[in-house]
Symmetry: C2
Subunit: 360 residues, 2 copies
């Protein structure tokens, strides 16, 4: 596909993976699964099997540009798109769309987070191929939905119309739902027409720009006003202004939940957003008592369902614990219940409040 | 008291306090309570208020002589008695007795561990004074017994005859009991005539040598055979041989439990052997939820009855734990139930077996 492009979003700060993920080295830049590659490197490699490497862009915070360069030495500076500030995903997508329209007005592009896990790469490639084909041929906004395997309360859900199957197995989206509580998640699973929202989107530049103009003109106005500066030396200065004036909202809220021509392709390529310690635990190799050891010197006694991450040389002895995560780093040690995302957020906020950025 | 001496036993390796206590820096050389003094320094200072400083001897493993010198810079080399090997307490006491008999045949001396906590120093000094007086005047082996405050299963117990009170409040010992189980400890407490065995002994050199000759001739024979070499340049070589041939047993087992002229002075000067994480927790300042933080950056959430020890600069966040100890050091992290001495011993043995001495 000559006009297919990929935009990898690598600007997150990964607070949910603190203290392993840090302000100066967030999750996407870590080899969090111990595979030998960082999440960004794995994501890039995955897409490099689908499109030419020079069709892949990395959108990241300007402070992370050097990290991207280090981790992906084969890409050019033009492929690293530095955001001047953190502004959620909608401005990020708008920026990418206007910039890419200037390069190739016929472009169809994938927007994908840098920090997700994909277990079945062949199936992933096939699904992305179908989505690119469908999006390039239709006036459609396309997302990938993951067939749910359990009533996960940490994911958003997509309900689709299961009566009508379009080309490339696309289905029309009925509604998006934010993270539900457990009872509702269970109903979603049982109904059979709900999918997890993967956060992976596919569209033509023209279609997404049209959607922005219709549903989020306060964003698109900022980026369309500077259209003559994309891919020129003046781009950065104008983008800085556009970002500073743009509302900070998510692409889901700005576009997906409002647009009418939204399609989803049901997928099952072994996906996880690796958004919590529990989701990491789920995807890791476990011992007989379901403990996960991310480190070389971790000993468990009378313990089950724990996840321990520690520097390679550190000896960690865990006795008498169940369902805990233990994250040891040189300057921070976190011990807490593994299924407790909310409390972890409180703790992160407290550390910021009472200790400043020293430990973040 | 002109002929009063102190022998501080500082040769332990403190395995029960691993990983804070290490082979090359055992518990007695640590400021484990955060007072600004190591346990050895506190013990020394306590006795320096009772006898002249040059009457205090430190008995320690030869590998720790330099540590003693560093921590007690005012003492002379002659006051540091280096044991050639670890051989439990009976040979240690025999060595001290024969060596001291050569210096002052009229000596009465206290044997006390370097790593205990004494909260009420005035009361301690008064009790030691009474014990020295009693021992110097009688043909007696004297020990200090601590009035128990709870049915502790980690201490030995001393039963005494409560009908007859001797000078200086001394009582005749009926029997020694090793660490009892909980039910028996409870009976001991309720009976009113049991005390905790403090491991602090007082006797004349002549009396303890006589007791060794009667109850442990296999030990005393080794140390009496080299009597002309004490306090000469040949001492070390002969002591090395005596230790290598002497059985390795405790002074309790070799002498105290067998001798007949054993007296105890009931005491209550706020004593702890600081033998376990639980006993340390008991003696430390606690927050509202009974958590102990030994470190400057320790945050507790939803936690109670925990003890956390960590380097000053390390941020430790503990969420959702009760009754645990968390000991973080640069190369070892231990997390385990606080009241679980036996399991901790197993773990220490495992680490030795599977990781060698690297982490000990």
């Amino acid at each position: 596909m000559e006009h297919a492009y990929i935009a990898i979003m690598a600007g997150g700060i990964g607070t949910r993976f603190w203290p392993q993920s840090r302000m100066n080295l967030p999750k996407q830049f870590l080899d969090i699964l111990g595979t030998g590659s960082t999440l960004l490197q794995s994501t890039y490699r995955r897409f490099a099997q689908i499109v030419p490497e020079n069709h892949i862009y990395i959108i990241t915070g300007h402070e992370y540009s050097d990290l991207v360069r280090q981790q992906l030495p084969s890409i050019s500076d033009a492929q690293i798109i530095a955001e001047p500030m953190r502004c959620n995903t909608a401005p990020c997508v708008a920026y990418m769309a206007y910039k890419l329209a200037n390069i190739d007005p016929q472009a169809t592009f994938v927007v994908a987070p840098a920090d997700h896990l994909i277990e079945n790469e062949a199936e992933f490639q096939e699904t992305i191929g179908k989505a690119l084909t469908f999006a390039s041929e239709k006036d459609a906004i396309v997302t990938l939905g993951i067939k749910p395997t359990r009533p996960h309360t940490g994911y958003g859900y997509i309900q689709y119309d299961d009566e009508m199957v379009y080309e490339n197995n696309a289905r029309r989206v009925i509604t998006f739902t934010e993270k539900p509580d457990y009872e509702i998640a269970l109903q979603f699973i049982n109904s059979g027409d709900f999918l997890w929202n993967s956060g992976i989107f596919i569209w033509q530049v023209g279609q997404i720009i049209k959607a922005f103009e219709k549903y989020a003109p306060d964003i698109s106005g900022r980026f369309s006003a500077i259209v003559e500066h994309y891919n020129t030396p003046e781009e950065a200065a104008h983008i800085a202004e556009a970002y500073s004036l743009s509302p900070s909202i998510s692409i889901d809220y700005a576009i997906m939940e409002r647009a009418e021509n939204v399609f989803v392709i049901p997928s099952s390529f072994g996906w996880s957003d690796l958004g919590t310690w529990l989701s990491l635990w789920e995807k890791c190799e476990k011992d007989y008592f379901e403990n996960v050891a991310l480190g070389k010197n971790i000993l468990f006694y009378d313990s089950a369902n724990c996840l321990v991450s520690a520097p390679e040389d550190k000896l960690v002895v865990v006795q008498g614990l169940e369902d805990f995560c233990i994250i040891d780093t040189p300057d921070v040690l976190l011990i807490g219940k593994i299924e407790n995302e909310k409390r972890m957020r409180d703790i992160h906020a407290d550390v910021q409040k009472y200790r400043g950025s020293k430990y973040l």
